[in-house]
Every structure is written in structure tokens, then in C-alpha cells.
Amino acid sequence: MSTVTFKVFRGDRNGGELKDYAVEVQEGMVVLDAIHQIQAEQAPDLACRWNCKAGKCGSCGAEVNGKPTLMCMTRLDTIDTSKPVTVRPMKTFPVIRDLATDVKWNYEANKKIKPFTPAPGTDWIMFQEDVDRVQEFRKCIECFLCQNVCHVLREHDEKTGFIGPRLLVRTASLEMHPLDIENRLDMLKNEGGIGYCNITKCCTEVCPEHIHITDNAIIPLKERVVDEYYDPVLGFFRRLFGSKKRAEPSGQAADD
């Protein structure tokens, strides 16, 4: 057992400061355990979010020693505890209190994405190799760490014309669903702002689910947008033969 100093951000929308707390640590402890111990023994009004404590819900994202991470999955023996450990809220979102940030923008931006739209009359037969790709995207636990590190959102605060990596992943999960027939390329190009992404891969680096956000979701979507709107050869053929690349809904009732 040893004592570790935690410097935890205390404050709200109007500002705040790091406060020191000494925590007795034991084997296997994660950062979230330390925060809970501070709550129970020293600062009962210290605000932080958590639900599952097993990396499944994505509630406890914060910046530990400057690194965006899930507090429940960050073991103290993987960081240098001979020096004070700083814990700050995610920077990209406004602070509500202490470590809890206001992430409701993500829920609003999500509404720009057209929902799952299956082809009418589908037989619902899908093979594992066809769903492997979207299953990767559906592992997302909405911790918003990718949104937090994305330069477009973090440095430039571009929250009106860009939906961020999480929502690009969600769009990819719909666009690449074998039975979906909706077209979201116009949204991606315009209000989704996929052009803002300059592929620095910061989102991929912090993803606790190890989703290949940039390579498997964003780049293929960018390619689709480019093909649709900027490829002169394809554009010529489209003008010649029409631009439909997917079946239109036939108007029949979906099967059951």
C-alpha cells in the first residue's frame, strides 16, 4: 500500500482549479477507484460519471495526465504514480461540474444521420463475412473520447458543420450495412462536414474499443463522397446514364 497524490479538476463552466487529494492505493486499482475513494472520504460532492466499471458503457472518459482515457480501464500500475496524477474533464465539451462534461451536442448532431432503412421485401439473410465490417463499428460505446481528441472539434470548435468521428463511425455502420438502402453521402459532404477530417488518426489512437475509425470508417466514406461528387469520369458517366447506384424503395410493404 502506498499513498499517491491526485490533482483533480474542481470547478464548473465558469472555471476551476486542480485540487490535491492523497489516496491510499492497493493492488489492481484503476483511476476511477481513486476518484471514488476521494468521493467517499474527502470530497463527497466531487462529480464524475460512471456506470459499468468494466469498459462497456463509456461513461467515465476523462484526461489522465493529459491522456484521454476511460478511468475505469486505466490501472494505476500503468502510470507513474511517483509523481502526482492529474485528472481533468474532457476538454472539447463544456464542464458541468468537476469531471462531468456536457456531451449533449453529440446527441443533437446524431439526429442529422438518417436512420437505418432496409430494402423492402428483404429476406434478412446476411452472412457473417458481410456483417463483420459493420459489427466493428457497432462496438462503439459512445464514450466520445474520439470526439474529444478530434482537432476539428477540440481546437476549432467546429460543432455546427462537422459531426465528428463517433458519428462518422455511426454513419459508416449504416452505409455499410448489407441491407440498408438509404443514401447519406449528401449529409456527409454538407452538414456532416467529412471534408474537415484531415486523417490525423487521433480518434483511432484513443478508441478504447480499438475500432479502426480512420482507416475502416472515415476513409472509405471519404472515397464514396469523392466518387459521388468530385470524380469527373464517373460524373460524365452519371450524366450519361443517370446517377442511381442503389435500388430505390419499391413501395412494397416490408416482409415479416
Partner: protein, 609 residues
């Protein structure tokens, strides 16, 4: 005077897990104006943590499977204390609810011929669990969340309900507060659906998230709703036991479903010695037969690791008590020597990740150390099996907070499909009830004022106790005195402890402001948690036998008298709780034949399963 904001809805759904979201969707489909309240952010409810799968007799992997087999498995697993009509409704509808999720965008794992794949789980006769690796709960909640957003859901996120509001004996809304700001909110509603999940946080070692503080049971009981069979708490056999900070975190039954075996410190597979009388003849009797089953031999019987959760949890406890446990007081669960590393990573990715990150252990190379953890409550608010209506007008309940479906022990995988089957039924019935309420929205202003004053009291009580310390005491004593093994003396001691804690729960002190203040939230949670703990202990004292999730050291066997009784927990007008034993609802002869078929052969020969 304290101000508050008022919202009017036809149906107010409290809880945004699987049952709450499915109820909201059903009520919106019926044309109701629906509000959903959730203590967390949308999509973070405890459902998200469910791993293994959702049970539904779709017959995609074994065509012999159908609702009758699922009906028999569920009643048998539940020690025949289940409400048979709920089980019938459930087993018949579950496949439709799974297919519906697929039509709303869920992407389940596939069979080689492109259908929804199904995996083995404890107590199920056939592979029956539709799943997505070991993150089925995430898939379920995300699908429902997306569909609810599409339907235009009104979600009040990070909002806690403090009390239900009543008028003339009927529920007409709820009082709560926004956790982010501390502002009070009054929800006026024509009908309320409770979908608040379970109560695992009353125990020290639990797989449950912070939210599972038993709110719904207490809120319902306080307005006069009956609770049923609260003694039946499920201790999941496989929680993590090491390191200490992860104690209780779940290790999915999918590990055993995929072939994982349990061994003691002597390297012995001990489950072969733990097959109860009622399951004799239905499980493999040798390691060789179990091995053939794993290889896909349809004539081989399932390994005994796939017995029901109550049986496996007690067997692990027995090994530990008799000195054959693992170094940290559990047993070994080994999948590494049974399946190739790639297969394990594919079928159990989040388990691989969880052990690697939190326990520094590679489950493709080494066995896991596991032990029982509080996971689920089979009992709950007593509801009508068709409509989910409680005995209080205007109040409905669905999901873990409702009782009756699972009897004395829930089969793994029967929860996720319970949520969608009965969430839908509750939402439909609540919307229909609301449509019939023609009067204007009424709540009693004095009632609201009194509750607000009560809720703010810890801020004006500088000499009170630390709510976190009280919570710790509650959880430790419940674990010790009303945990996996119970006896009369300890249960009586716990009742005294609870009487004391109940007083102290109303004498806590909190500091800081009202915005996002965990100390305050804990102080208010405690008031509900002591109420529901008392219901559990009273029911456990009354059931003088061992059955399902309820094990009494002083009455180690099932008792035929109790086999016919449900326990109803009711509140008197002075606020005290008491237990009434009631005979089970009568099962019709044709259903009894299905439930009591000796084995699957008899089931198919006699009742045409």
C-alpha cells in the same frame, strides 16, 4: 419558495434500459405523448453491460427448439414458481421481438446459412441465445436507442425520480430532479411505466452498475403496489474475484456456453458431482461425453457447467468452503485449453479485453479466477401477465423491476428478451390506459412541496452522517447476513441493522451545491435502498426452504409446501412491510404437461414439441 418545471405526458417511462426504451417505442406507436426519464445519459443503462445473448426459441441452430421447450426450461429453471402465463407470453413472443430488432438495425452474429446465430447457455436445452459476440446488451440498447430517436423520443437524461405522485389512489406522475443542475421537475402523466431495473447495489459484491439501487421497487411499494418473491436474488456464478477493485465484475456465462470448464485447486472438474436430482439424466456424466458435445455430437448431453446459475454458484461456494478454492477465494474457469485463441477473441472479445486490461491475464492462455456475484433479482413488482399493470391504477412495470417471469431463478439470456417482450406490452397497455383518462392533469401541490422539502433536508442537517459510509455499511451487512447463503439468526440480525440504518438514512449530511452532487444523490438513494433491503430480508425469513436463488443453511432442501407459494410483500397503512404467502396461480392441465415432461423425448412424444 423552491421553483420547479412541469412536464405533461400521456405516458411517463421511468428508466431507459431495454424495457424502458421498448415501452416508450410501443407507447409512441399507440399515439401517446411519451416522456422517458433516465438517471444516466441515454444508452448507458445497465442493459448495456449484458453480454451473452437474448434467449428466443427461433430454431435457427437446432430446429427441434420451440416455445414449448423454452417454456419447460424456464419453469424448471425457476423452480416452478414462475407465473406460467407470463412464461407462455414470453416464450411465444421472444422470437418476434428478436426479429424486430434486426429490422430496426441490430446486427446479430450469423449462422453459416445467413440466419441469426444462437449459442448455448445454462439451463437451455438447445442453443437459443441470439448474440453479438459478448456485447449483446450494447447491440440491444443501441438499436432501441436509435429507433426511439427515430420515433421522436423525449428523453430527460441524468434525471432522478424521488417519488411517484398519487391522486385518489392512482398514480398521476412523478417528482424528480435534474442531476446536472439540481432543479426539481414535476412530471404529470396519465400513466407511468416503471422500468428501473434491479437492486444489485444493496450488496457489496455485485455485477450491477451504480444505477441499480432498487428505486422502482421502493417507489412502487410506497404507493401501495405489491411486490412478489423478493427473496430470490441471483448470484451469478462467475464474477471476477481478483484484483480487489474488480471484484464482482461479470464474466459472461458465454464462456461456459462456448465450452469453458470449471475446476478446483486440485484441477478437478467438480460440476459432474453437483447435478441436482431434478436434472439427473439430462447432463453429460463423463468428461468424454461432454467433450463429444463440444465437438457437436448431437447424441451427447450438455456438460454440467451449463446447469442453472443457482446450482453452479452454490457448487463454487462449496469448493471454496471445503478448502479447494483458488488463491483468491473462487474457482478456475478455463476456456484457454478448450478453444483456439482466435476463436476466443472472436466469440468473447470483451472478456479477453476485460481480463487483459484489468487483471493482466490472457484468457486465451490461462484460466480465469471466478466466484459468485450478485447479478439479478427474480422477484419484483407484481404485475398482470398480459398488461404488466400493477395493483395501483395508472402504474405499470416491466423488465427486472417486475416480478413473476423468472420464478426462483432466472436462466441466462432470459433477461434481454424479457425486456423487449414485456417492455412492449407495458408501453401498449399504459398508452391504452392513458387514452381513457379524460380529465385534466392534476397533481397535489402540497404533496410536491412536502417531497421537495424532504429531498433537500440533507443540505440543512450539518450534524448528520456521511451517506457514502452508510451505503458501505448497508452493502457489507446485506452481503454478510442476507447473501448467497442465509439462516434465520443472521436474517433477524439484518432486520435490526436495517431498522437502525433506516433511521440514519434520514439523518445524513451533504455539502456543496445541488448541481451534480454525488453525496446528495447517495443520501437520497439510501432512503430507497433500505426499504427494498427490508423487503428482501423479510421474504427470505419467511421462505423456510432452499430453492433457486434462495439458499437457507437451516433449511437446505426444497419443501413441497413452499413449492406452491408465492410471497407477496405488502405495505400497511402505517408504512410497515409484511409478507403474505399466496398460492400460485393454477396452471391448466395442457400447460402442466409441457412443464412437467420428464425429458425432451417425453415432451416431443406427448405434447408434440
Amino acid at each position: 419558495m423552491e421553483s420547479y418545471t412541469t412536464y405533461d405526458y400521456d405516458v411517463l417511462v421511468i428508466g431507459a434500459g431495454g424495457a424502458g426504451l421498448r415501452a416508450a417505442i410501443a407507447a409512441i406507436e399507440k399515439g401517446a405523448r411519451v416522456g422517458v426519464v433516465t438517471k444516466s445519459l441515454l444508452g448507458k443503462a445497465h442493459t448495456v453491460m449484458a453480454e451473452g445473448g437474448m434467449a428466443a426459441a427461433m430454431g435457427n441452430v437446432r430446429s427441434e427448439d420451440n416455445w414449448k421447450v423454452h417454456f419447460r426450461d424456464t419453469l424448471k429453471g425457476g423452480g416452478m414458481l414462475n407465473n406460467w402465463k407470463m412464461v407462455e407470453n414470453y416464450t411465444k413472443e421472444a422470437p418476434d421481438r428478436v426479429r424486430e430488432l434486426e429490422r430496426w438495425g441490430a446486427v446479430f452474429d450469423r449462422t453459416p446459412d445467413g440466419k441469426i446465430n444462437q449459442r448455448n447457455f445454462g439451463g437451455h436445452s438447445y442453443p437459443r441465445l441470439a448474440h453479438v459476440g459478448d456485447r449483446t446488451g450494447l447491440e440491444l440498447i443501441r438499436t432501441l436507442q436509435d429507433h426511439a430517436v427515430k420515433m421522436g423520443i423525449n428523453a430527460h437524461m441524468e434525471t432522478t425520480i424521488y417519488r411517484l405522485l398519487t391522486e385518489g389512489g392512482a398514480v398521476v406522475g412523478a417528482l424528480g430532479f435534474n442531476r446536472q443542475t439540481g432543479e426539481f421537475l414535476v412530471f404529470r402523466a396519465k400513466a407511468v411505466v416503471l422500468a428501473t431495473g434491479g437492486l444489485g447495489r444493496i450488496y457489496q459484491i455485485t455485477s450491477n452498475s451504480w444505477e441499480c439501487t432498487g428505486d422502482g421497487f421502493s417507489l412502487a411499494s410506497m404507493v401501495g403496489a405489491d411486490l412478489i418473491d423478493m427473496e430470490f436474488i441471483q448470484f451469478h456464478p462467475t464474477g471476477m474475484v481478483w484484483p480487489p477493485s474488480v471484484m464482482g465484475i461479470l464474466v459472461t456465462e458465454g464462456v461456459r456456453g462456448e465450452g469453458g470448464v470449471l475446476k478446483n485447486s486440485e484441477g478437478k472438474r467438480f460440476m459432474f458431482d453437483n447435478v441436482p436430482e431434478r436434472y439427473k439424466g439430462e447432463f453429460a456424466e463423463t468428461e468424454e461425453e461432454a467433450e463429444r458435445w463440444l465437438q457437436g455430437d448431437r447424441n451427447a448431453r450438455r456438460p454440467p457447467e451449463l446447469l442453472t446459475r443457482d446450482v453452479v454458484a452454490r457448487a463454487i461456494r462449496k469448493e471454496v468452503n471445503e478448502g479447494r478454492g483458488s488463491p483468491h477465494g473462487g474457482a478456475y474457469l478455463d476456456i484457454a485449453s478448450r478453444r483456439p485463441a482466435d476463436y476466443i477473441k472472436k466469440k468473447l472479445p470483451s472478456m479477453y479485453h476485460q481480463f487483459m486490461k484489468l487483471g493482466n491475464l490472457d484468457i486465451t492462455k490461462e484460466p480465469m479466477e471466478v466466484g459468485p456475484t450478485c447479478h439479478y433479482v427474480m422477484g419484483g413488482i407484481r404485475v398482470d401477465p398480459d398488461t404488466q399493470a400493477t395493483n395501483v391504477p395508472g402504474l405499470y412495470a416491466a423488465g427486472e423491476v417486475a416480478g413473476g417471469l423468472h420464478g426462483a431463478n432466472r436462466l441466462g439470456g432470459n433477461s434481454l428478451s424479457d425486456l423487449v417482450v414485456f417492455g412492449r406490452r407495458a408501453g401498449m397497455a399504459a398508452a391504452e390506459y392513458a387514452a381513457k383518462q379524460t380529465g385534466s392533469y392534476q397533481v397535489d401541490e402540497a404533496q410536491v412541496r412536502a417531497y421537495i422539502a424532504e429531498a433537500l433536508q440533507p443540505f440543512n442537517n450539518p450534524q448528520g452522517e456521511n451517506p457514502f459510509a452508510l451505503m458501505k455499511e448497508l452493502r457489507a451487512t446485506m452481503q454478510k447476513n442476507a447473501g448467497i447463503m442465509r439462516e434465520e439468526n443472521e436474517l433477524k440480525t439484518q432486520l435490526e441493522i436495517l431498522a437502525n440504518l433506516k433511521k440514519r438514512a434520514w439523518n445524513t449530511s451533504v455539502s456543496g451545491g445541488r448541481a451534480y452532487n454525488p453525496g446528495w444523490h447517495t443520501a437520497l438513494d439510501m432512503r430507497l435502498m433500505v426499504e427494498i433491503s427490508e423487503a428482501v430480508v423479510l421474504a427470505a425469513l419467511a421462505r423456510k426452504e432452499s430453492r433457486g436463488g434462495h439458499a437457507r443453511l437451516d433449511y437446505p432442501d426444497p419443501d413441497p409446501t413452499f413449492a406452491k407459494l408465492n410471497h407477496i410483500i405488502r405495505r400497511s397503512s402505517d408504512g410497515t412491510l409484511h409478507v403474505v404467502a399466496e398460492p400460485l396461480p393454477e396452471m391448466p392441465e395442457d400447460r402442466r404437461k409441457i412443464a412437467e415432461a420428464k425429458d425432451l423425448k417425453e415432451l416431443s412424444d406427448k405434447v408434440g414439441a
